[in-house]
């Protein structure tokens, strides 16, 4: 039974971590364009970086 004293807080901590990650993703706009994101995943990342911040 002492295992539970560890496991329950760990389970709750991991759950909170997931919630925090979701909130971060939402705040940083990753759900703005779900359709476009599907295509962006296939893009060449290096090109993407260059294009988005043209100096």
């Amino acid at each position: 039974m002492t295992a539970l004293a560890w496991l329950v807080p760990i389970a709750l901590f991991l759950g909170t971590l997931g919630l925090a990650a979701f909130m971060w993703a939402l705040r940083s706009g990753q759900f703005e364009d779900l359709e476009g994101a599907a295509y962006r995943a296939l893009e060449d990342d290096r090109l993407e970086d260059e294009d988005l911040t043209k100096k």
Partner: protein
């Protein structure tokens, strides 16, 4: 323009750039895939002065950050046009705001979902422990952990409901949120009390998962609303587009149409739509007023005359001074009629609201009866209250709250794939009730643009030659000639050396002589035509006449037949002349028609139908239809419609076919039957469970199972509508 668009947050956040320039959001019409997405961003970034660009495929928009000293909105529009995309600026004030509420609901949903999952995890352990050999002290500890998760979650995620319930109570009304809030708050606090007493009647899991399911419903509802509003905004922006302003020094500048102010002077080129109501300062010629009056024959305009937004300039370029909309008599009348019509429509009550009106008092009554019943029967107040809470939780309109939004979002996704935008969610309910369909003529049953009518009579040679000359012009008649030639001979190759003389026509000098394509006067012909004609004169050959008329949408007759077959009464109302209307009516097979109607007369006609007990579904596009669209039970307009009509309509459809009207009707009907099925599911659950709850035999476990299954069943039922029938 300091407010940064939300779409850019990600780009800016991830790349650690802090753009200091202005932000502009453009609606991009034909962006469909990942390739388009990249092309749009690349094209926007190529504009000198562009700092960042981020396109959104879901919203069909692109946000750009740029240096105002080096670039302007018109530069981006031109760059996107070159890349093959039609773009238009959105009104800055109207972007954002909408998303804020949607995001707030999503955050609440996430918190409630997290809490529901964890509490359920613990509850399952407790429930199985009750059957097994769980140490009672452990069960109590687990209930305390549940309480610790549930209290903050309810305090945060319950706010949307608590606020709405409070607002309703302040207005001395009852809405669905009152029993919801009551159930959640009572259940939570009673459970805390029961935990302190060490009782088993603890409802944290039920209260939080109830909150979660309800928030899913709210979120879907809001998503639908935001998406519909965004789509409608895109359409309107794309339609008004960009205008050429003449500044005081005489210099010309491109500007977005929505930025026009009274007193601005603008130049309207041949073949361009007039973007604002105004008075003609210079130039004279013909304009196509079909969007305003339904009349297809062009009207003459001269200096000092009023012109309306949405009319098409067929003649010489016009210089127009923009006037305030309310000073124009026609528009003033239309707006007055619209206002009256919309007040009438506000009386419609949504299906969910009607259900809530019956449901909310019933729930309160049953809860109270349970409490009083048990107390009078001699039970303690704690027992009575616990059973009353069980009743509230069981009856709480979980499935009911999901029933309508889940169906409507599925229905609107389905229609969206078929090029219909659902602007008003309750439009889906109203269209299902319609038993009569009324069409406008110009631009609705017809395409609202000229087509060559006797192309067969014109010699092949002449049509080919005329089309080659016409291919260089954007004038609607020239385009119609090219379209007719392309239909007969395939591709038309434009010739070089063609000069456009505005207001007259096109000409080309050849070694053998001159070719002219244009008005009768310009070609030296003495014709008494009504204006819908163009002449083509070549050296040493008799002049050839091309006549134009508005052509009927290709599937108009089929759609009318299909509607009649399903038992709808079909009618046509038009502002056009009798002869034209009669001809079209016969062509598409409509027996009931009225011609030469003014906007007020259209309303009167619809009112008469309503008085006979008909529920009218109106399809129209013109400014003159706008009040009728607003007064009809349900309404639809094509994407080419006047913007005031698009605003009034419940649905907007795109493309050259009329079939979307049928899709909208059938989807509306299926959506209604599914919403009713969902209500039935919710009702069956209640009929079974409420007596059990009142008798006090419902345990927290049963409450949790019943609630989840009914919600899942309802959502799955709605998903049937979206899943099937890809076009």
């Amino acid at each position: 323009m300091t407010a940064q668009s939300p779409a850019l947050h990600f780009a800016a956040g991830a790349q650690k750039v802090a753009p200091e320039g202005a932000t502009l959001t453009l609606a991009v019409q034909n962006m469909h895939c990942g390739g388009c997405l990249r092309s749009v961003e690349r094209a926007a970034l190529k504009v000198p002065g562009a700092e960042a660009a981020r396109a959104s495929l879901a919203a069909k928009r692109v946000s750009v950050v740029y240096d105002q000293a080096r670039a302007s909105a018109a530069d981006f529009i031109a760059a996107l046009n070159d890349a093959g995309f039609t773009a238009a600026p959105l009104e800055a004030a109207k972007t954002g705001g909408d998303d804020a509420r949607q995001k707030y609901l999503l955050r609440c949903m996430a918190v409630a979902g997290f809490a529901a999952m964890n509490i359920m995890l613990i509850s399952v352990a407790v429930w199985s422990g009750e059957a097994g050999d769980m140490d009672p002290a452990m069960a109590v500890a687990f209930r305390w952990i549940s309480a610790l998760i549930a209290l903050p979650a309810v305090a945060y995620a319950g706010q949307p409901f608590f606020r709405s319930a409070l607002a309703a109570l302040k207005g001395r009304r009852l809405n669905m949120d009152v029993p919801i809030s009551l159930a959640i708050i009572l259940a939570t606090f009673m459970s805390v009390y029961q935990t302190m007493r060490g009782s088993e009647q603890v409802y944290f899991d039920a209260a939080v998962s109830l909150l979660f399911f309800l928030l899913v419903g709210r979120f879907l509802d809001e998503t639908l609303r935001v998406r519909a509003r965004g789509e409608a905004q895109n359409l309107l922006s794309l339609q008004s587009g960009v205008v050429t302003l003449i500044e005081t020094g005489g210099t010309r500048r491109m500007a977005p149409a929505h930025a026009l102010r009274p007193g601005d002077r603008l130049l309207v080129a041949t073949g361009e739509r007039i973007a604002a109501d105004g008075v003609v300062l210079a130039g004279a010629g013909q304009i196509d007023q079909s969007l305003i009056t339904g009349e297809t024959a062009p009207a003459r305009v001269k200096i000092g005359q009023d012109v309306y937004a949405g009319t098409l300039n067929l003649g010489r370029p016009l210089e127009i001074e923009v006037r305030a909309a309310d000073s124009a008599t026609l528009l003033a009348e239309i707006s007055r009629l619209m206002l009256a019509a919309e007040q009438g429509k506000a009386r419609y009550r949504r299906l969910a609201d009607r259900a809530a009106a019956i449901y909310a008092p019933a729930v309160h009554g049953l809860g109270l009866a349970t409490f009083l019943g048990w107390v009078f029967a001699g039970a303690s107040w704690q027992t009575g209250l616990t059973y009353a809470i069980a009743v509230l939780i069981i009856t709480c309109p979980c499935a009911l709250a999901l029933a309508v939004p889940a169906v409507q979002i599925a229905a609107s996704s389905r229609l969206f794939r078929r090029h219909v935008i659902v602007k008003a969610a309750d439009g889906l309910e109203r269209i299902a009730e319609a038993d009569m369909v009324v069409f406008d003529k110009t631009g609705t049953l017809t395409l609202g643009r000229p087509a060559l009518i006797d192309g067969i009579c014109v010699s092949e040679n002449a049509l080919k030659a005329a089309a080659s000359v016409a291919a260089t012009s954007k004038h609607p008649y020239a385009r119609a000639i090219v379209a007719a030639a392309e239909k007969r001979f395939g591709r038309v190759v434009p010739v070089s050396g063609v000069e456009e003389v505005s207001g007259c026509g096109l000409r080309r000098f050849l070694a053998q002589g001159e070719e002219r394509l244009g008005s009768a006067e310009w070609c030296g012909v003495n014709s008494k035509g009504e204006g819908s004609e163009v002449w083509f004169r070549r050296y040493g050959m008799p002049p050839v006449r091309f006549r134009f008329a508005d052509s009927v949408r290709s599937d108009a007759a089929e759609v009318v037949a299909a509607l009649k077959c399903e038992g709808y009464r079909v009618a046509m109302l038009s502002g056009d002349r009798c002869a034209v209307v009669e001809k079209i009516a016969r062509e598409v097979g409509i027996e009931t028609w009225k011609a030469e109607l003014k906007p007020a007369e259209k309303i009167a006609w619809l009112d008469a139908c309503a008085a006979e007990g008909h529920k009218v579904f109106m399809v129209g596009d013109g400014l003159n239809d706008a009040p009728a669209l607003a007064v009809a039970h349900a309404s639809m307009s094509p994407a080419s419609a006047a913007d005031i009509s698009q605003r009034a309509a419940d649905f907007v459809f795109q493309g050259e076919k009329l079939a979307p009207t049928l899709d909208a009707i059938s989807t509306g009907k299926r959506a209604r039957s599914m919403a009713l099925q969902n209500f039935a599911v919710a009702l069956v659950y209640n009929v079974i469970c409420v007596p059990l709850a009142m008798a006090g035999t419902v345990t927290p476990l049963i409450a949790a199972i019943v609630m989840s299954t009914s919600s899942i069943l309802v959502t799955a039922n709605a998903a049937r509508l979206a899943g099937k029938g890809h076009p």
